[in-house]
């Protein structure tokens, strides 16, 4: 592998493919007890492997800089960020503390941190994830390095922030004339930001092409698989799932639109101890769901989507509102001790490992929901076998423990447990976001198949818009605990009307080089704290359409039977002119043409 100056390459691979090790090898910093066995890392004709520790230390962070994921964990919690930036500068450039401070503030300005002088004194815990990531970028650029390695740097951020940060990074690096290596598992990042793509598989580079060539069609089998899995995420018309485009709920045997779940005026406030302020996590939210239907709750982290799910399940006590499920009231922790409700709602979680008791066998895990239903031994075993079979786990694995199987399979076990009690509703709380592209595609497919077979309803909670587009019939977009737009999924993806929805959709990085991302409607900044909600329009600080004084009060507008938006009039007129439909549509067309 090689990199020229001012070049941007993407090193793509799934977990375990060795991409991080490779990126660390470049710096000769392999985590113990690993060792570099052979080979060479040549930098300006010097083999980094042969350099002494001191020489390497001088290079690291100076000529070759790394940006890492989990930015808050990477910063020393006990030092101000200013000190941390200065330390690196002083160490490498040997300048005085005063000069370093000046330079650090300039860097903070460069990475667009507002009020850099004050932020210089801030501690990492006072920063949001996006801010911390900008600080990390500032550190990495402090010594004008020749190579910057971004190691999955944005995977922890929300899509809107991810797009902003990557954009910023790319611009800064190019301005400084450095080279940039993106280490990522997201082909979208590669498609939008890299000049060249290298695919890693089992520790080997299996494909190395210019970005445009790669997305036109990789040669290597694995690369192909990876690309198609990623595309599957972005399009619903791949493979043979075309029947879903009709958007008719499957096997809707009852009267049409039989309301299964009805949530009205749900409010959840978290009191802050020692203060009269409250966190307004969920603010007057109403929606409904029919059997066999999928509703997606979409939003950035902190938008309240997970809290809604937890209120539904009684895992959080709602502040006010009403939840009806199968004509019974929900919202109490004890609700599910009611034999009629027992097992009727199930949950699939984001972190499959945390969702499974490590001390139980797969069989025990899956059978747990049935044990309370007092099904007799034979029926129980049969039901368990059935659902295990349905999620594609072989019976011989039934006596294994969760830590003996892969993450994708763990998620399958979670799904098996969810369906074993024959639920009417499954809440899918970010079920795929922790998974690699291929596993993610498989799980999505499985979920769709299950809905088809069992006509279960899904409440799909996610910030992964491509997955949402793929699976849901209806979408509700949440911002700061409020639904700002909801309705038919296709319609919303095609012509979102709320400025926030526009910004959100435009920030999705689709894995294609041929479709252009509509950056004009990107959102600025980050989601504000839900403690002190801005008065008036909650988006006014970030709105791409905002003018000097936007004091308009948003109102609820029914655009059609199945499209409701909560926004101010002025915005609606502006957004009506924007058409981002081609972003997703073009992508689908392109994907289909490849197929």
């Amino acid at each position: 592998m090689h990199i020229k100056s001012r070049e941007i390459i993407a090193l793509v691979g799934e977990s375990g493919s060795g991409k991080t090790i490779l990126s660390r090898a470049i710096m000769n910093l392999i985590p113990k007890p690993g060792r570099l066995n052979s080979g060479a890392v040549l930098y300006h004709d010097k083999n980094l492997i042969d350099l002494s520790n001191e020489e390497l230390t001088r290079l690291r962070g100076n000529r070759i800089a790394t940006i890492v994921s989990n930015p808050k964990g990477e910063l020393d919690p006990l030092e101000t960020i200013g000190q941390q930036i200065s330390n690196v500068i002083i160490h490498h450039l040997r300048i005085t503390r005063e000069e370093a401070k000046k330079k650090a503030i300039q860097l903070l300005k460069d990475v667009k941190i507002p009020d850099p002088e004050r932020r210089f004194e801030a501690y990492p815990h006072e920063l949001s994830g996006g801010m911390a990531q900008r600080v990390i970028i500032a550190i990495s650029l402090a010594c004008d390095p020749e190579i910057v390695i971004s190691d999955d740097a944005t995977s922890g951020l929300d899509v809107t922030v991810q797009a902003q940060v990557l954009e910023l990074l790319k611009n800064l690096v190019l301005n400084k004339g450095s080279s940039l290596i993106f280490v990522t598992r997201d082909l979208g990042v590669a498609a939008h930001f890299a000049d060249r793509v290298c695919v890693l598989f089992n520790g080997k580079i299996v494909e190395d092409k210019s970005t445009t060539d790669f997305f036109k069609g990789p040669k290597n089998e694995y690369a192909k698989k990876l690309l198609s899995a990623s595309k599957f995420q972005g399009s619903k018309k791949v493979n043979s799932h075309n029947e879903f485009s009709t958007r008719t709920p499957v096997e809707n045997k009852g009267p049409v639109k039989e309301k299964l779940l009805e949530v009205s005026n749900l409010v959840k406030h978290f009191p802050i101890s020692g203060s009269s302020a409250v966190v307004q996590a969920v603010n007057d939210v109403s929606f409904s769901l029919s059997s066999g239907e999928t509703l997606a709750l979409v939003g950035e982290s902190g938008s309240g989507k997970t809290t809604i799910g937890r209120c539904l399940l009684g895992l959080e006590q709602m502040t006010s509102g009403k939840i009806n499920f199968m004509n019974k009231k929900l919202g109490q922790r004890q609700s599910f001790r009611d034999p009629e409700l027992m097992g009727k709602i199930q949950l699939v979680f984001q972190e499959p490992a945390e969702a499974l008791n490590p001390k139980m066998t797969l069989y025990d895990i899956v059978s747990e929901p049935l044990k309370n239903l007092r099904s007799n031994g034979h029926n129980l075993e049969k039901a368990v076998r059935e659902s295990i079979d349905r999620v594609g786990i072989s019976e011989s694995d039934m006596n294994r423990y969760p830590n003996e199987i892969s993450m994708g399979f763990q998620q399958r076990v979670g799904i098996a447990r969810a369906i074993v009690s024959n639920p009417r509703l499954i809440i899918l709380d970010e079920p795929t976001s922790a998974l690699d592209p291929t596993a993610r595609a498989e799980i999505m497919e499985l979920l769709i198949q299950i809905q088809k077979d069992l006509s279960t309803s899904y409440l799909f909670i996610s910030h992964d818009l491509s997955a949402v587009k793929h699976i849901s019939h209806k979408v509700a977009i949440l911002y700061l605990g409020k639904i700002i737009e909801q309705g038919d999924a296709d319609r919303i993806f095609a012509s979102p009307r709320h400025p926030y929805s526009l910004g959100l959709l435009s920030s999705v990085l689709l894995p294609s080089t041929s479709v252009k991302r509509p950056t004009s409607v990107s959102l600025d900044g980050e989601i504000p704290s839900p403690i002190n909600l801005p008065s008036g329009c909650s988006l006014k600080s970030r709105c791409p359409f905002r003018e000097e004084l936007c004091e308009d009060i948003p109102e609820t507008v029914h655009l059609s039977d199945d499209h409701v938006v909560h926004a101010c009039k002025q915005c609606l007129t502006k957004t009506a002119k924007v058409d981002i439909m081609d972003y997703f549509e073009k992508f689908e067309q392109e994907t289909n043409s490849i197929q």
């Binding site: 710096m27 910093l29 985590p31 113990k32 390497l56 230390t57 001088r58 290079l59 690291r60 962070g61 100076n62 800089a65 790394t66 890492v68 989990n70 964990g73 990477e74 910063l75 020393d76 919690p77 006990l78 030092e79 330390n87 690196v88 160490h91 490498h92 501690y123 815990h125 990390i136 550190i139 990495s140 020692g274």
Partner: protein, 336 residues
């Protein structure tokens, strides 16, 4: 600054009910110990009427609840009652004995820190080698040794055989005039008094008990330092430091700074434990400390000293925890 006051205020609000609870529980608990203080006090010759008078004098004829109220109101006035064994006010006794214990504990913990921290740091930074081994095994061995026995071994070696330390009989040879008591610490008082003979003598008496407790308590400090620092070196920010090209020394310093809260915690826990737990070593060296006073009280149904001791050491522990919290507060900006 406001953050600090708020923080201190919050802590102090918890202190009062806690002290009350501790006093109440110890009061009731001690009542369960068999033995009638009046009988013990009056001696075997006392007639029933003498006993009755004595009981009335001590308030023993009142209900438990009334007795407790009386005790509490006395405590609030600084009166901890009398010890029937020493026939002196407990407050006065404690005022003499606590400094003895504190001097011993503080010096021991300083020694323990001086051993534990460098070894722990070295142990965490090194993966192999003699230092690492020493650090690993020191923690294990120190935790296994009974301190009272180690004290005896030291006495045998250094006093009986080598005769290079003074007899294990308290804090100072009594043909030496002790300095006037200002702080209660003989070392400090003798310096204030410029009495170097007393200082030298007190140091001689301190050496063995301090070394005994210091060596043993260095174990947990070492373990904690090593374990936390190792964890901190594994944390992302340490790895990121390496990625940024910061030298190993700087990274180790950061990791150590981040381990400080745990180290401070273990020291405070040891301190709290030693206020009563040093009693074994105090006994071995006839130290005359507070722990000895309390243990003796329990064994002889002399309750006021025990209550007084529990109360004072609870206050001490709370003060220590407060100091610890303040240290956290200064070390870690996240504390609220």
């Amino acid at each position: 600054m406001k953050r600090l006051y708020l923080f201190l205020g919050k802590r102090l609000i918890f202190v009062i009910p806690q002290l009350f609870g501790i006093t109440l529980v110890s009061f009731l608990f001690l009542q369960l110990i068999p033995g009638d203080p009046a009988v013990l006090m009056a001696g075997p010759f006392a007639t029933p009427s003498v006993l009755e008078n004595l009981r009335a004098e001590l308030g023993l004829d009142k209900s438990l609840f009334e007795q407790f109220l009386i005790y509490i109101s006395n405590v609030l006035r600084g009166d901890l009652g009398n010890s029937w064994q020493t026939t002196r006010p407990v407050a006065e006794d404690l005022l003499q004995r606590f400094p003895a214990t504190l001097e011993l504990i503080v010096l021991s913990l300083l020694l323990a820190l001086a051993i534990g921290i460098p070894l722990g740091r070295a142990g965490a930074r090194l993966k192999k080698g003699v230092t690492r081994r020493t650090a690993d095994y020191y923690g294990l061995f120190a935790g296994a040794l009974p301190d009272f026995w180690l004290g005896l071994v030291f006495i045998y070696i250094f006093y009986t055989v080598l005769t290079i330390v003074p007899a294990p009989l308290g804090r100072i040879d009594f043909f030496i005039i002790p300095p006037p008591s200002v702080t209660g610490s003989l070392l400090i008082d003798s310096i204030i008094d410029l009495n170097f003979a007393a200082f030298k003598n007190a140091v001689g008496h301190l050496i063995l008990p301090v070394v005994t407790l210091g060596l043993i308590n260095a174990g947990p400090i070492l373990k904690m330092t090593q374990a936390t620092m190792e964890r901190m070196l594994d944390e992302d920010f340490s790895k990121y430091g390496a990625l940024c090209g910061l030298p190993e020394k700087v990274i180790a310093r950061k990791a150590f700074r981040n381990s400080l809260p745990s180290v401070i915690t273990i020291v405070s826990v040891l301190f709290g434990f030693l206020i009563g737990g040093a009693v074994l070593v105090e006994i071995v060296f006839s130290w005359g400390g507070a722990g000895q006073y309390a243990v003796n009280g329990v064994l002889n149904a002399d309750f006021n000293p025990v209550l007084g001791f529990v109360l004072v050491s609870a206050v001490f522990s709370l003060v220590i925890y407060l100091i610890v919290d303040l240290l956290y507060f200064y070390i870690d900006p996240r504390t609220t």
